[in-house]
């Protein structure tokens, strides 16, 4: 997004000479940053900070047998 703004400014500066207008620039979704944010939150929620497996407390549910 910041990149987009910078690009826009650069185009404006050049605009005086080249008569290229600043077209609306879409702000793309920052997928990599979102992934990083998701991972940080998942670490927090699952308590994975030390790489430890999340501790399953016994809430009275019997771990059923798996297929």
């Amino acid at each position: 997004m910041t990149m987009a703004k910078l690009a826009c400014r650069a185009v404006l500066l050049a605009g005086a000479l080249t008569l290229v207008g600043c077209v609306t620039i879409n702000i793309y979704f920052p997928a990599a940053a979102a992934e990083k944010a998701a991972d940080r939150i998942i670490d927090e929620v699952w308590q994975l900070k030390n790489g430890a497996a999340p501790k399953a407390e016994e809430p009275g549910t019997a771990p059923g047998d798996k297929k």
């Binding site: 308590q47 407390e57 016994e58």
Partner: protein, 141 residues
């Protein structure tokens, strides 16, 4: 005769407060009170959900939620409670995705955030946990 005492003291207030570290451009803002509150709430719930993930009763859906996969892995008397747990977890997740989008000034990103999370929950899930693949079928990791 009175003596006038005139004194101006300049005290340096707020001098040593640290300025906040500049935010990295590449990060999304996730340190807001709302996100923190949701995170706490989900963290508290996780100990209960983890054993349901382990037993295969609950799995991860492709839209960033959790869902009941096999009620039979849960004793009868607790199935209702598991349903309530799933409902609250999904409510928190929806609020979390929305809050992250809003905290970054782009409410319209909500669905992208949800999609990102959907994929991260699944790829960070432990071996043995279940998730829905692209066609909606349950797969064991």
């Amino acid at each position: 005769m009175r003596t006038a005492i005139f004194f101006t003291a300049a005290l340096a207030a707020l001098a040593s407060l640290l300025p906040a570290p500049a935010l990295g451009q590449a990060n999304l803002e996730i340190n807001t009170p709302a996100i923190a509150a949701l995170q706490r709430s989900m963290q508290q719930r996780h100990s209960q959900l983890a054993s349901l993930y382990n037993s295969g009763a609950v799995g991860f859906t492709r839209d960033g939620n959790v869902a009941l996969r096999d009620a039979k892995a849960v004793p009868l008397a607790q199935r209702q409670q598991v349903n309530a747990l799933i409902a609250s977890e999904n409510q928190d997740r929806a609020a979390l995705y929305r809050e992250i989008a809003r905290a970054n000034g782009h409410p319209e990103w909500e669905n992208d955030i949800r999609a990102t999370f959907a994929q991260r929950w699944i790829s960070r899930a432990q071996r043995g946990w279940y998730y829905q693949n692209a066609s909606g079928a349950w797969v064991r990791k």
